[in-house]
């Protein structure tokens, strides 16, 4: 395997700071040199990897306007440093200043001033993007986590009104005290509600309940020109359609009303496969037949494929045992261990792979059974368990997670081809597959999103996550890997969850010029100075 070193880049915080602060300013409308690395989008006609840093023209009068209006804006390394990069860690940029969101009125004021002074505003929730979508390359970084209050819980109607900067986990902490839960959210403790509604969000129950954005009933949105507007399927439906899954282009979600459900702990079942195809076929069989409440696939490369199935109630679990369990072709942990032992005993040249699997099993499996998160054999908070395990065993300073979102019938082929790409580029990796049930009434939301055009019934998503494991890879290597995965999506007619930021070169190729131009025209009308999250999609 070829690895590239990137001399000096990670040598010390001081040198990093020097590099970042020496980013050359670039005139608007021109394309400057990439501040981090040479252009790396192999095979794509593209002029830059990171957006050029905004040149700062008009910053001082803009700041003066804000401060005169009593709006706090912080500058300097202590205030801005935390926003240097996103969860991906490959796009680095610093804002000129940071505003902590406190109210819709404050954000409206900010956006009005930003339009007038043509200052870019980058919005950040949990910062869990991986392609630099929530990284500010100059201008203002608006941190939405400042708006993290739960406003009202209606236990009878099973709804909650919350500020949109709140983390799903913080929302869960409040809901759980009333024995309630949200419908679905990313299995990451620090995903924010607003950020998730803006891109979709998947959970291991998405094959039943749809993507996380589908649970939004209504939103308060601050438009790019600073109007505070309420929207839903009935009120300002066009804005609602564009903001949900809109990648932050058409407004900032400041409040959301979400559907809830009674809280239940999960009864988990794990089945182990040595074949991706078999596991995916079984996953899709369960989803088609509504045989489980939760389902998903998590792998150690393509050697150990874990199909997880879980239930909210004893009745559903009993029905699964009676009707579906025997149809699954996976093994229990012991049976699979014996199969693997036999497999590797006959293939001694694969000893290294076998040792890796063993090491991984010892490290990861106990995380899903930690006594403090289990009661009477049931998992009490899936997000806590999964997210802690993910950050502990997958997280690192750099993460690239290209993904494919495919119609059900092309999913197996997409995953098998993506798996081959992973094997080519990295020693170790993980795949995470989950289904998303489409809601026909939400079809307008899905336009130009992670839901592939024309998909019916279910869409299946697969994330391809290499294990960085302290290795140092060049951005060329990462980018070539991502491109190879995304090319599969183009070939098979899929879409992507992460098509913004550094991957936006694929947008026109996936959605076509006509659709992109229509959205661009809408964006120009909504955001005349093109200041809001300006380098994410357009």
């Amino acid at each position: 395997m070829r690895r590239f070193f990137f001399p000096g880049y990670y040598s010390s915080p001081a040198s990093k700071r020097t590099i970042l602060l020496n980013i050359p300013p670039v005139e608007p409308g021109t394309v400057g040199p990439c501040p981090v690395a040479p252009d790396a989008l192999q095979g794509i006609k593209r002029q830059q990897t990171n957006p050029a840093r905004w040149n700062g023209a008009g910053w001082e009068p803009f700041v003066a306007t804000l401060r005169a209006a009593g709006l706090d804006l912080a500058e300097g390394a202590a205030a801005c440093g935390v926003y240097l990069t996103d969860a991906g860690g490959t796009a680095c940029g610093l804002p000129h200043g940071v505003v902590l969101a406190r109210s819709a009125g404050q954000i409206a004021l900010l956006l009005k001033a930003a339009q007038a002074h043509r200052v870019p505003v980058t919005v950040r929730g949990g910062g869990l993007t991986t392609e630099g979508e929530s990284v500010a390359f100059g201008g203002v970084l608006l941190d939405m986590t400042g708006m993290s209050r739960v406003l009202a819980i209606d236990a009878a109607a099973l709804t909650v009104r919350t500020e949109a900067g709140i983390y799903w986990h913080s929302l869960a902490e409040e809901l759980r005290r009333k024995n309630l839960d949200y419908l679905s959210a990313p299995l990451n403790l620090t995903s924010s509600v607003g950020g998730t509604l803006g891109v979709g969000g998947i959970d291991v129950n998405s094959a039943r309940l749809g993507c996380s954005a589908d649970q939004a009933l209504s939103l308060q949105v601050v438009t790019p020109t600073g109007d505070v507007v309420e929207c839903s399927d009935d009120e300002n439906p066009e804005l609602f359609q564009r903001v949900i899954l809109g990648y932050g282009q058409f407004g900032i979600i400041t409040e959301a009303t979400l559907r809830l459900r009674p809280y239940t702990p999960l009864a988990m079942h794990y089945f182990y496969y040595s074949s991706l195809r078999t596991a995916i076929e079984d996953l899709q069989m369960l989803d088609r037949n509504d045989a489980s409440d939760y389902s998903g696939i998590l792998t150690i490369m393509d050697c150990a494929v874990n199909l997880l199935v879980a239930f909210d109630s004893a009745e559903r679990e009993a029905a699964f045992r009676a009707n579906w369990k025997s149809r699954l072709r996976g093994h229990g942990e012991l049976g699979f261990g014996l199969c693997m032992a036999g497999h590797y005993a006959l293939r001694p040249w694969k000893l290294r792979e076998a040792l890796y699997l063993l090491q991984r099993k010892r490290a990861v499996f106990p995380e899903f059974r930690r006594a403090e998160y289990m009661r009477d054999g049931k998992m009490h908070d899936r997000t806590v368990v999964f997210s802690r395990a993910v950050w502990k065993h997958w997280g690192s300073r750099n993460m690239v997670i290209p993904d494919l979102a495919m119609p059900a019938d092309r999913f197996v082929e997409a995953v098998e081809r993506g798996n081959a790409v992973c094997r080519k580029y990295f020693s170790h990796y993980t795949l995470y597959c989950v289904g998303i049930r489409l809601r026909p009434e939400h079809r307008p939301h899905y336009e130009m999103s992670c839901i592939p055009p024309g998909a019916e019934g279910w869409v299946y998503g697969c994330e391809f996550e290499p294990m960085i494991e302290g290795g140092v890879y060049s951005r060329d290597h990462f980018q070539a890997f991502k491109n190879a995965i995304y090319d599969i999506g183009l070939d098979l007619g899929g879409s992507y969850y992460r098509f913004g930021g550094m991957m936006k070169g694929y947008i026109r190729r996936v959605f076509g010029d006509e659709l992109v131009e229509r959205h661009l025209a809408m964006k120009r009308r909504a955001d005349p100075a093109m200041i809001l999250n300006r380098d994410v999609i357009f």
Binding site: R17, A77, G81, D86, L100
Partner: protein
């Protein structure tokens, strides 16, 4: 066994390992009251990665209550509270010697230089000893009750000057530290101060140590008076300083007594108060003291939100005041549960 299969705890890492996952933020009382990422361990680590200096970060460094909730949740195993204590030391060392200092610091320096107070000899090295700390020591009746419940000797030199020095970032003279540690060697230690306990774990790795809360809650007289309608508020520093062991201990306590615990969904102890360094040193102007009280109220209110306990049982005396400000519920110090049979009868009658 191959090295990679051995379960050896990895050494803690420093701020440069922070990957920005924000898990520490979710449990941080500074963040709960400010909703400002700069006031979080992650904010400090990221700012340091960008070259910020300790003096630029003075406000969040001082605001931290050192509850230690961030330490067990960090997936990168960064010693986050250690990082903040180190930053406090850097800040303290950077102060010019002629700069005005709070009286408490001058007094602390003098005590540390003076050395150990005269200590009454404890009969045997194997006898367990109690380090009660200044708050418990200031209430002789309660301390006698604690002593009676635990049946152990009180150590005259309980290291409260050392505990304060650790908290405020003052260098501890080697002579003072060695005298203190030497006097403790061989004893089983019960300490009221969770921060001191955490440090003793490092300084005396072979010794047996326990927080005062767990020590008291092992007593049958105390445990039998815990009721399912109680909210049991854990002292967070000792809990997080020995998380893996303590989370199992308190789960058992909950199973056996039915009381609810002050733990969040990540099984991290929610601190009932969040006072930082300035309050500790009595440095804050009046209006900020009021703000600090409000900050404490945020934590206590959050602990009670959506819960309907009949009684609050606290391991730390400092938490009594925080709850007293935000609710009318009876707030009982753990040792008081084993105190008065008449009172116990009353509690049993009131709470079933």
């Amino acid at each position: 066994m191959p090295a990679f299969l051995a379960k050896v705890p990895a050494a803690p890492r420093d701020y440069s390992a922070c990957s920005g996952c924000s898990l520490c933020l979710l449990v941080c009382p500074m963040w709960r009251s400010s909703h400002d990422p700069v006031f979080t361990p992650e904010g400090l680590a990221k700012a340091l990665q960008c070259g910020a200096t300790a003096s630029e970060l003075a406000a969040p460094i001082a605001a931290c209550s050192l509850c230690g909730a961030c330490d067990p949740v960090c997936p990168e195993r960064i010693d986050l509270s250690g990082m903040i204590m180190d930053l406090r030391r850097r800040l303290a060392n950077a102060l010019p010697s002629d700069s005005p200092r709070p009286a408490l610091l001058d007094e602390l320096h003098a005590r540390l230089q003076q050395g150990a107070p005269a200590t009454a000899p404890v009969a045997s090295r194997s006898v367990p000893v109690l380090l009660p700390g200044p708050v418990l020591r200031s209430d002789p009746a309660l301390m006698a009750q604690v002593q009676a419940l635990l049946g152990i000797a009180v150590f005259d030199d309980d290291g409260d000057d050392i505990a304060l020095a650790i908290e405020v970032g003052v260098e501890i003279p080697q002579q003072r530290l060695h005298a203190f540690l030497d006097s403790l060697r061989g004893h089983s230690i019960v300490a009221a101060d969770g921060l001191l306990l955490r440090q003793l774990r490092r300084w005396l790795p072979g010794s047996q140590r326990m927080g005062l809360g767990p020590a008291l809650s092992t007593r049958a007289a105390v445990r039998s008076n815990l009721a399912p309608s109680d909210l049991y508020v854990i002292e967070p520093r000792a809990f997080h300083g020995d998380y893996e062991r303590m989370v199992g201990y308190y789960d058992r306590l909950q199973r056996e007594t039915g009381c609810s615990l002050s733990l969040d969904l990540q099984r991290i102890a929610i601190p009932a108060s969040s006072s930082g360094l300035e309050h500790r040193l009595g440095l804050v102007p009046k209006r900020d003291v009021l703000r600090g009280v409000a900050d404490d109220d945020v934590q206590a209110r959050w602990l009670l939100q959506g819960r309907t306990p009949a009684r609050i049982v606290v391991e730390s005396l400092a938490d009594r005041a925080a709850f007293g400000r935000v609710c009318d519920l009876p707030v009982v110090y753990l040792a008081e549960l084993g105190e008065d049979p008449e009172m116990m009868k009353k509690f049993r009658h009131a709470f079933g």
